[in-house]
């Protein structure tokens, strides 16, 4: 059985800046965990440390029995972890379909997976199907977000890391994306780590949440409890 994602006392520094200052986190399997906090709180650093783009100065990160700190970035996806980077990270020079294909390219059964995956993603996000042969830089912000999520799903992950998927999107599109995450978690048992500035919409779909401030976890608990805690909301979440 997988034991999910577990961070223990992770410290990540950029020179003198301690972007993560002893973060411990146990991500519940099959649930949506929101990671909230102000600009510079360390949310992006948390995800980049998990997938190996930056290496921590101390602590441990394990996922389903694997030591992620000993895993090269290129191997992370093969363990079932997919990442939707901040600012979406679609490769604008490639077409929509090429971006999606990349998601399943590491698999040994990629022919079948690509066919199935494309069908699933196009059904989930019809605008992508109409634009499959267009360069990704012609997509709108919302379409790019769909593409980034669709590409992540092409690898058939068990853990999806999302970095501010609502950034720059209209409320209606944000709500659509949140509903999609909810459905993937409920129907497919996908584990989601959802980094957000937009605390209100993140808490509305998350099962639990942690609040980061200056690299430390300052609060964690069930999403409803955090949303109901007025003091916390005023201090860290701004709504």
């Amino acid at each position: 059985m997988t034991s999910g994602l577990v961070l223990d006392n992770v410290v990540t520094t950029y020179g003198a800046v301690r972007a993560l200052d002893g973060v411990s986190l146990d991500v519940a399997d099959g649930k949506i965990t929101a990671v909230l906090g102000a600009n510079g709180a360390g949310k992006t650093t948390l995800l980049r440390t998990v997938n190996g783009l930056v290496r921590p100065a101390a602590g441990s990160i394990r996922f389903g029995g694997h030591d992620l700190l000993a895993t090269p970035v290129e191997r992370i996806v093969t363990l079932g972890i997919a990442h939707v980077p901040e600012g979406r990270g679609v490769i604008t020079e490639l077409t929509v379909e090429e971006n999606l294909r990349l998601g399943a390219l590491w698999r040994s059964d990629r022919r079948r997976e690509t066919v199935n995956g494309l069908a699933t993603v196009y059904e989930m996000f019809p605008p992508l199907a109409e634009r499959r042969d267009r360069a990704a830089d012609t997509l709108s912000g919302g379409e790019r977000q769909m593409l980034a999520i669709g590409r992540a799903l092409m690898s058939r992950p068990s853990l999806l890391l999302l970095d501010e998927p609502s950034l720059g999107l209209a409320p209606r599109i944000t709500a659509q994306i949140m509903a999609t995450l909810r459905r993937l978690s409920a129907e497919d048992g996908l584990t989601v780590v959802l980094v957000e500035q937009n605390a209100r919409s993140a808490l509305s779909v998350a099962d639990s949440a942690v609040i980061l401030n200056l690299g430390r976890v300052v609060a964690s608990g069930a999403a409803d409890d955090l949303a109901g805690d007025e003091q916390l909301r005023h201090a860290y979440l701004g709504f």
């Binding site: 997938n51 783009l53 980077p85 490769i91 990349l102 690898s155």
Partner: protein, 294 residues
């Protein structure tokens, strides 16, 4: 008819410049490095082919294939050994390293093969075609050159656009970080990219070496590098199609100016073309940014 003839022979020369330009473009767009050593690398692989064919009696085709493979290996080794360690450093570092490699290769070639001139006999005739009594400035050897370069370009196009490895190479070039997150082994593909680029360069070297008796010596290809560089810049530096167009344009203009103005100013024309293009259209004629603006 003279004019048409000049255009034909200029374009035929231009195809070789285009191959060199393509070698530069492939590396520029994947690593943002201008490989000044490319002239030295293709000189070296051409010498290897010449050595096999003229000193050891090998068949021309064996020489050509060995030169291509040597280019592939040389490019890959250069990436692994010289370029990888300076990745992410100041942008001046690759300039110095590739210029240093150029000088090194020229010096080593001089030690091995001497600095005198040598001739590489072409496989096909250099006698121009006739249509009736009309001379066409185009020969069987140039026909081979055009077909070989275009064949390689088509093969590379198919590789990049229609195979999984090509998709990985493009992803690595355009967005290495995202590519790694998607499981692409970016480092390996950069090595392969350098190898392929150097292979295209190696082809250009062997092809052009046969077009003139006494062409080869350790410094003979410096001019070709400058022409290829001009073609690449004219084409926008990041566009393979631009490299082809740039090569043809530079070849034709060079031939026309040689004929109608003076051949003594030959190398000067290259700079004029470069200057004019950069003034009129700083990002080159075919660069992606220019296309976007239109």
């Amino acid at each position: 008819m003279t004019f048409l003839n000049l255009v034909i022979s200029g374009a035929a020369n231009g195809v070789v410049y285009a191959a060199v330009a393509l070698a530069l473009v492939l590396i520029w767009r994947s690593t943002g490095i201008l490989n000044f050593a490319q002239g030295g690398m293709l000189m070296f692989t051409t010498f290897i082919a010449w050595d096999l064919v003229h000193l050891h009696g090998a068949n021309y085709w064996v020489g050509l294939v060995v030169a291509l493979l040597a280019g592939l290996v040389l490019g890959a080794v250069v990436e692994r050994v010289l370029i990888r360690p300076i990745e992410g450093g100041p942008p001046i570092n690759p300039v110095i390293v590739t210029l240093g490699l150029l000088l090194l290769l020229e010096a080593v070639a001089g030690m091995i093969w001497g600095s005198g001139v040598s001739s590489f006999a072409p496989e096909f005739s250099l006698n121009d075609y006739h249509v009736g009594h009309q001379l066409i400035l185009f020969s069987p050897d140039y026909l081979f050159i055009v077909l070989a370069v275009l064949g390689v370009m088509v093969a590379l196009y198919v590789l990049f656009q229609h195979t999984p490895i090509g998709l990985r190479m493009r992803a690595s070039a355009f967005n290495p970080e995202v590519a790694r997150l998607l499981g692409v082994r970016v480092g390996r593909l950069l090595t392969l990219g350098w190898g392929l680029a150097a292979m295209v360069g190696a082809l250009a070297g062997v092809l052009i070496a046969g077009t003139q008796p006494g062409y080869i010596n350790p410094n003979a290809f410096d001019g070709l590098l400058i022409l290829g560089f001009t073609a690449a810049v004219v084409g926008g530096l990041d566009s393979p199609l631009g490299a082809l167009a740039g090569g043809l344009l530079v070849g034709v203009i060079q031939q026309l100016l040689d004929n109608y103005v003076s051949i003594d100013l030959d190398s000067f024309y290259t700079f004029v073309v470069l200057l004019v293009v950069l003034m009129l259209r700083p990002s080159g004629l075919f660069s992606r940014t220019a296309v976007r603006r239109v």
